[in-house]
């Protein structure tokens, strides 16, 4: 007791010196009744006492000798025991460690740390979070993780998804920026390929927990047989769901769908298991879905063979606001009569939702004939923007439905007629004249298309000129695929498709066009300066050493160039280019010396 200056007289002196009011608390006693202090602190206290014991006279005015906390406790606290961060009064480190509850007004103030070596107190003030980048001396500290959010977003907008993911793994703030900003979310989806989806299994487990939402999910070949709380917890955040070749049964499917009230897009691709075991009695009035999904806009049943008209009917009853339906690749394994029934049901759906319907995908669906075109024309106020179909019948001479259809659908922006062997020149002319808003036109493998279709002017036998509308008059066209349309001549491609007016184009697919010549490439290079994808696969006559140089020189924004099987390129002359481009993929240093710094994909097959 006597080894440490805390007798009554010394406290009195202390009172005078430190000018601390009456509430100085009772001095610490070693055999105090409070809970046992931690050994560490005890030890530290003892060593401190030993040090003071050796002194003959103790001068209390010296703060080095008597450690006076503003709270009045006479506790020597080793510096190392003090947490560097500011501690809130509730868990004042020293007090709780010593097990002695001392209540004092001053203890609710900032902790003051005494520096024994320098002999002066050092107030520890934690800067509030909003001024965190400033260090205490008022200067900036480079804390990139605390950049203003708007700057982080500007930076993140300029890097690719994989880079953004890596940046998001560095710290919380950057993670928030990369996760929660909506445009970034829209660029990504989560894909589970052959992974188990149960709450107990490692990867999926982490998705189930935590506050985050996953708007887009894709499952490929996943077996849905385990219970998961994921759907219940995160269901409201999911807007798009794709199940591809998944094993899922009716009961599980319904229990999942019940949680997805905000679902906008549902794709069930090749989910045969679902419909195979889903028996519906013919006269059963009970709906297949005991609930409605009002948000569902897009339904894709592509590649599902086993669903029948009863399934389909109930599916569309569940989603009253459908604006897009995809039944591509369906009905192939059905009998002819059944196919007609199914197409009839699809038509009925389109008829029911004709004011909403914007997108229709009937690619590779059998039985698309003139009658279907007429049916589509009969639907009043149907205005599609996206349309995909494969039409392989011959266009009838008398009142062809396809012409009538394209005469009515003037809002089309996306048109995919890939492998429509029946598409004639007249139809293409109709499309060019009546769909001025076309953004994407894909007519790959439409073998009937010739010069007249793309707008060539011809003379009749009587010498009358027939003026047609050239394809380059489509102002908004950005993506064009005329691969394998071999009846279009090189001259027509130059004059009627490319044209002379420089304009914007993002993607050109010109595969397997033997007619295409070197000079067409020159025209492409001059006209479409900001083209990003150029596919010249097997167009052997187009790519020579000269035209390759045009491409390299003019098309500075090209990202994807395909010149596989272009045998006219001589290895001797073009080797420098090709070597440079191949090294470009591996070595980023060369970027500046080349004309083409953005080329990411480059396909070339040269010995």
């Amino acid at each position: 007791m006597g080894d440490y200056p805390r007798s009554n007289s010394s406290i009195k002196r202390l009172k005078e010196k430190a000018d601390i009011a009456d509430f100085i608390l009772k001095p610490l006693d070693e055999d105090d009744d409070g809970p046992t202090p931690s050994m560490k602190v005890k030890k530290a206290i003892r060593s401190r006492r030993r040090a003071t014991r050796n002194r003959t006279a103790v001068d209390l005015s010296d703060p080095r000798n008597c450690f006076v906390k503003p709270s009045g406790s006479l506790i020597p606290i080793p510096i190392s025991e003090l947490k560097p961060k500011h501690a809130f009064p509730k868990d004042l480190e020293a007090d709780s460690l010593l097990g002695e509850k001392r209540v004092s007004i001053i203890s609710s103030f900032e902790t003051v740390k005494w520096n024994f070596d320098k002999g002066e107190p050092e107030a520890e003030v934690e800067p509030p979070p909003w001024m965190e980048p400033f260090s205490c001396d008022g200067m900036f500290e480079a804390r990139y993780d605390l950049l203003p959010m708007e700057l982080i977003l500007i930076i993140f907008k300029q890097i690719t998804v994989s880079d953004r993911m890596a940046a998001g793994e560095t710290c919380r703030r950057w993670m928030e920026a990369s996760y929660y900003y909506e445009p970034f979310l829209n660029q990504t989806y989560y894909h589970f390929d052959r992974s188990d989806c149960g709450d107990q299994v490692a990867p999926f487990k982490y998705f189930s927990e935590g506050f985050r939402y996953y708007p887009r999910l894709v499952f490929t070949q996943v077996d849905f047989n385990k219970h998961s709380d994921f759907w219940f917890n995160h269901g409201l955040g999911i807007t798009e769901l794709t199940l591809r070749s998944c094993k899922i049964r009716k009961k599980k499917f319904l229990s999942i769908m019940r949680n997805l009230l905000n679902l906008r897009k549902l794709e069930l691709m090749q989910c045969d298991e679902l419909f195979k075991n889903w028996n519906i009695e013919y006269n059963h009035q009970e709906p297949m879905f005991p609930f409605f999904m009002f948000c569902l806009k897009h339904l894709s049943l592509s590649g599902c063979d086993y669903f029948n008209e009863y399934h389909f009917e109930r599916f569309i009853t569940m989603a009253p606001n459908l604006s897009s339906i995809d039944v591509s690749n369906c009905f192939i394994n059905l009998y002819l009569s059944k196919r007609i029934t199914m197409l009839d049901r699809v038509m009925k759906l389109i008829n029911r939702n004709r004011y909403l319907m914007k997108s229709l995908n009937l690619a590779d669906t059998p039985c698309v004939d003139d009658f279907i075109w007429h049916c589509l024309c009969e639907l009043e106020s149907l205005q599609l923007t996206h349309f995909k179909i494969a039409y392989s019948d011959r266009v009838p001479l008398k009142d062809p439905g396809i012409l009538r259809f394209f005469g009515l659908q003037t809002d089309l922006t996306y048109l995919n007629l890939t492998s429509s062997i029946g598409l004639s020149d007249e139809c293409l002319q109709k499309i060019i004249t009546s769909c001025p808003r076309l953004h994407t036109l894909l007519i790959r493998r439409c073998w009937l298309i010739s010069d007249e279709g793309v707008g060539a002017t011809t003379l009749t036998k009587e010498g009358v000129e027939i003026v047609r509308r050239p394809m380059h008059t489509l102002e908004h066209l950005r993506v064009l695929d005329i691969s394998n349309c071999e009846r279009i001549s090189d001259f027509s491609i130059q004059t009627y498709i490319i044209g002379k007016r420089p304009r914007e184009m993002n993607e050109l697919q010109l595969c397997m066009l033997n007619n295409l010549s070197e000079s067409s490439i020159y025209y492409i290079a001059v006209t479409f300066k900001n083209i990003q994808v150029l596919n010249l696969d097997s167009s052997a006559n187009a790519i020579t050493d000269n035209s390759l140089q045009y491409i390299m020189c003019y098309l500075t924004e090209l990202r994807d160039l395909n010149i596989v099987a272009c045998t006219k390129v001589s290895p001797a002359r073009s080797r420098p280019f090709i070597i440079a481009m191949i090294t470009l993929k591996t070595n980023k240093q060369i970027n500046k010396t080349l004309h083409n710094p953005r080329l990411n994909h480059f396909h070339v097959a040269i010995a």
Partner: protein, 163 residues
Amino acid sequence: MSTIKLETSDGVKFTVKTQVAKCSGTIRTMLEDIGINPQDGEAIPLSNVHSTILQKILVWAEHHVDDPEPPRDDADAAKRTDDICSWDEDFLKVDQRTLFDVMLAANYLDMKQLIAVCCKTVANMIKGKTADQIRKTFNIENDFPPGDEDKIRLRNQFCEERR
């Protein structure tokens, strides 16, 4: 040529051509909308900018004073990071701390072009790096609770880019 005075956080006063100072949206607003009269000889206080940084920014503004107004940025333009002009590239060859300060000051002074250039420089530094390398480059403190980082990395493995 009219000039105005700017006072930085450490009390240094700069005399700048009005046209150069108007590169900053903040100062332009002060002069045009709030109606601070620069002829009074009164300095405009810029309490968030240090003199060394302001000096650097003024050099940049002097060089870019005649630049045309930037076009409305569309989604595609934002993705390019290789179009930094060589002068800017040299100008921003500074240590991380200065770059950071310039960026914050540009944000405070509302200089869109300078912000864009700085952000592009940072974006270029991030490209192709792993999380650990990025942390090392920018001196970022890993503030995830232990174990969380692995979970995030695991989740990110399932994330793919949309086409």
